[in-house]
Symmetry: C2
Subunit: 143 residues, 2 copies
Amino acid sequence: MEADPADVAELSLTDALVQLSFAVQAILGRVGADHDLSIIQARLLGILRDREPTMAALARYLSLDKSSITGLVDRAERRGLVQRTADPSDGRSVRVAVTDKGRALIELTGTDVDRQIALLTRNLSGPERHRLTALAGRIAPRL
Amino acid sequence: MEADPADVAELSLTDALVQLSFAVQAILGRVGADHDLSIIQARLLGILRDREPTMAALARYLSLDKSSITGLVDRAERRGLVQRTADPSDGRSVRVAVTDKGRALIELTGTDVDRQIALLTRNLSGPERHRLTALAGRIAPRL
DNA sequence: CTATATTAGTTGGTATCACAAACTAAATCC
DNA sequence: GGATTTAGTTTGTGATACCAACTAATATAG
């Protein structure tokens, strides 16, 4: 799946995107490790920055089984990064909110990711970065 | 970390690349699941297509602990996808080779990933795809 | 209004996967 | 030849994913 890197001129779109994807994942993994956050925990906190979804909504956003969300939120709650609150409109449901601690952590993490992405793309000119942003922004699905 | 999707025009390079990365990972995860291969198993087989590395080399390529490679290769070997062979030049060392079964599986998987990437990028024109390939190819590190 | 069906989230079971520390066997160094 | 280093494995631990089954709350049907 990952092409022979010596043959850059023949790199397919698939190989280019797959390699880029793993490069970005490697950054997320390293920066996350520095902040004691797994990638999935960082994604969770990222979602919670601007909303308080239900467990079911989180399962949809993250494309995970609801039982996986239970475990993920359990562990984050145990660390004081998130908290569950009752949903007044539905006794079965809970809402998940980020705590101040969690928000601080994800902001720091985001700053470091920005820095590492800047390093990753330092060989591109300003216009090239804009072009990459525009192209990438047109194909990745939205939350 | 993942920006408000309604604000596409203001998407940063970081957010664009992170979202793209997860979109590609989602494809790899789904296609992998269809072929009963985890992402890391697919990466392993991808590396083994054109070389027979040592365990240590695999740890470097995949940026994993050597004990993780032991487990990964154990499970792949148990499924008949790879095999360990002795290294004649170093009694401590083993070489890992893909089997015919493993090669067939990774070829199929790669074909499906190509198809899904084509779907992901169907909104881009031919020249835009070339441009994205070139830009991405210039920033992702090489194996 | 009550019984039945559906939904939200949890629990238990299982497997994969990651790292750290410690171990064994082989190779290297002095 | 003994000490040190290296390659890979083993053990322990924890995170993370899915499936099936469960409980409690809500919605629906009669």
